[in-house]
C-alpha cells in the first residue's frame, strides 16, 4: 500500500516537474490569436504572438530538428523562418515566423533563446507526432492571468436562405437549424474561446470544442471532437457555426455559453418561443 502511494506521489511529482519546466516562448500578453482561429481560408495552426523583434525561447527541453537557413541565392524551402524542436513523449514544437539564431546548437533547454520574432506576427504550435495532431498549446503552457473574458456579440439561427437574429421574445419555427455566433472580444488582451455550447430549456442542443487539428485527406480538419472542416466551423464573415441541431417546440430560455482557456464560463440567454 505504501509502495503504491509512493509511486503515485512520484508520478504526480514527475508530471508536475515536467509541466513546470515548460515555458511560454514569448510574453503571454503578446498573444493575438489562438489555435483554429480563422486565418484567410484555413485554421490557424497555433498561438499567434505580436512580433516586435523580441527574443523567442524554447517551450521545453528538446533537440533542434529543423531550422530555416537563408542562403544567399534564396531559400530552398519557401516560407518564413522556422525552428522545430523534438521533445520527449512524441511532441514537437514549432516556431514559425522567426529569424533563427545563427549559432543555435542541436540541443536546447526550456527557455533557451531560439531567435528573434520576425514580421508582424509569429506562430507557436505543438504537434503530437504519435497521434498526428496539432494540439492546443494553451493546454501545455502555464495558465495565463489577466486576460479579459470573452462575451457574446450576437447569435443568429439560419437554415436555407432564412436567417433570424436571436433576441428576447422572438418566435421561431421548430426543426433543423444551424447557429452562427459572433463573439465579443474586449480590448486589453486576447481572450481565447475553447468551447461553445447552446442550451435550449436546459438541454445542450449544439456546441463545439476547439480541441486539435488533424490532417484528413487533402485538408486540415478541426476535432470538436468530431472532425469538422473550416467551412463548417466558420462562415465567410468569420462567425463561428455551431453545426446543425434540432429545435423542439416550447417556450423557455435559450442560453449560449463560452468557456475560455482559463476555465471561465460566460453565458448570455434569451427568452424565446418555438412553435
Amino acid at each position: 500500500m505504501r509502495k503504491r502511494v509512493f509511486l503515485l506521489i512520484s508520478f504526480f511529482l514527475a508530471v508536475s516537474a515536467a509541466a513546470l519546466c515548460r515555458q511560454w516562448p514569448d510574453n503571454p500578453d503578446s498573444v493575438v490569436g489562438s489555435l483554429a482561429d480563422p486565418d484567410d481560408d484555413r485554421f490557424s495552426q497555433g498561438l499567434s504572438f505580436r512580433a516586435e523583434g523580441q527574443r523567442i525561447g524554447a517551450w521545453d527541453d528538446g533537440e533542434v530538428i529543423w531550422k530555416t537557413i537563408r542562403r544567399a541565392g534564396g531559400a530552398d524551402v519557401p516560407g518564413s523562418g522556422t525552428v522545430v524542436l523534438e521533445h520527449s513523449d512524441g511532441f514537437r514544437s514549432f516556431y514559425r515566423g522567426i529569424a533563427c539564431r545563427p549559432d543555435l546548437g542541436d540541443r536546447v533547454r526550456a527557455g533557451d533563446w531560439l531567435g528573434y520574432a520576425d514580421g508582424d506576427t509569429w506562430t507557436f504550435g505543438i504537434i503530437d507526432t504519435e497521434r498526428g495532431r496539432i494540439i492546443d498549446p494553451l493546454t501545455s503552457l502555464p495558465a495565463r492571468s489577466g486576460s479579459p473574458a470573452p462575451g457574446v456579440s450576437s447569435l443568429s439561427f439560419f437554415r436555407g436562405g432564412e436567417e433570424q437574429e436571436i433576441r428576447d421574445g422572438i418566435i421561431l419555427s421548430s426543426g433543423m437549424w444551424n447557429a452562427s455566433v459572433e463573439p465579443f472580444l474586449p480590448a486589453g488582451g486576447t481572450p481565447v474561446i475553447r468551447e461553445i455550447s447552446l442550451y435550449w430549456v436546459g438541454q445542450r442542443i449544439a456546441g463545439l470544442r476547439f480541441e486539435s487539428l488533424v490532417e484528413e485527406g487533402r485538408r486540415v480538419m478541426m476535432e470538436t471532437p468530431e472532425e469538422r472542416s473550416f467551412d463548417s466551423v466558420f462562415d465567410s464573415s468569420g462567425r463561428i457555426l455551431t453545426g446543425d441541431f434540432f429545435l423542439n417546440t416550447g417556450r423557455g430560455v435559450l442560453e449560449l455559453r463560452f468557456k475560455d482557456d482559463v476555465g471561465r464560463i460566460v453565458s448570455r440567454s434569451w427568452r424565446i418561443e418555438v412553435r
Binding site: 531550422k67 524551402v77 519557401p78 514537437r92 514549432f94 514559425r96 504537434i127 486540415v220
Partner: protein
Amino acid sequence: MKQRGVFLIGLILVGVYFFLFPRTSRSEYILFPEKFTPFKSAGAGSDASDNVELALQSGNSAIFVDKNLNAVFVHSSEKMAVDDHWLADSGSYGLEIKDRENRILSRSAAEGYPVARNGNLFLYDGAGILRKIRPSNGEVLWRREYLSPLTVLDAVGERTLIGLLDGRAEIITDSGEIILSYRPGGSGIEAVYGGALSSDGSMVALVAGVDPQRFVLLQERKNGFRPVTHHDTGTDFRRAVRVGFVRGDQEVLYESENSVSSVDCDDFSIDKLMMEGDAEAWSDGAEGGELLLLGKNLDGSALKILTRENLTMYNGSLPNDTVGIRQNGERTFIIRPESFGVLKAAIQ
C-alpha cells in the same frame, strides 16, 4: 646478355615514366569572364522579346536576357519565382503571372510564396497550404493542406515531389492523385530533409532522418515505386539538404560535409566529390558530362569543374558573394546579388 639487360631496364624505366608521371602538354584549363551584366533595367541593347534566352534570379531580383546576354527586362519583388518562360510575383494584390515579354498572363487573389520548379509553378502560404498553378492562365490544379512543415518541393512534368518534416514523402500528379506516399524510416528522428525527382519522374532520391541521416533511392517499377538502394550518409543536417539528379539521371548528388556525394543510379556505387566548403549549387548542363560545383565557406566561394569521370578540370575561387551557377550550353553563368557574369573556358 648485357645488352639485353640494359634494354630491359630501359624498357621498365620508360614504362614507369609513362604510367607514373603525368602526361602533360603544358596546357592549362582556364576560365575567364566573357560578359558582366548588372541586374538593371533594359537599355538600348535589346527589346526583342523573341530573343529572350533565359532568366536568372538572385534573391529578390530576376533578369531576362537575350541571346547576346543583354537585359530584356528586370523585375524585383520579395516574393517571386522565375522560369525561363514566365515570372510569378505575389504581393498584397495577389498572385500576378507575367510572360517573358512582361505581359500579364493572369491575376488572382491568392497570396503566398511562389516557387518555380522545372517549368512548374507552386504557391505556398508558408503555413501548410500548397497550390499547384498552371502558369499560362493561373488556374489552380490542386490544393493540399499539411500540418507538418514543408521541407522538399520538386516537380517534373505532371509529377510533384513533396517532403515533410513529419517523415513523409509524396508524389502528386496534376490531377491531384497521390501515386507515392512513403516514409523512409530507419532513423531515430523521422523527417525528410532533401529530395529530388529524376528528369522523367521515374526515380526519387531522398535524404531523411537524423540519427542516422539516410539516403534512399526509389525507382518506379510496374507495381509502383520501390526503394532500390539506401545507406547512412554520415551527415547530421537539420536544415534543407540539396539533392539532385545529374548527367542524364545517371547519378544523383546530395550534400555532405565539405563534399558532395554522388550515387550511381545503375550500380549504386558512392563517390565523394570533395570541395571547398558547403555545396551552394551545382550544374551539369554541358554535353560532355562536366559537373560544376559551387562551394562556399567563410573564406569565400570556389568553383570546381569535374570531368565525366569526376577528375578535376578546374578548381578556383570566385567572388565571395557568388550565390549560384548555371550552365546553359557552352556558357557558364555566375550569379551574384546584383549582377551576373558569363565565364568562357579555354585551353592555354
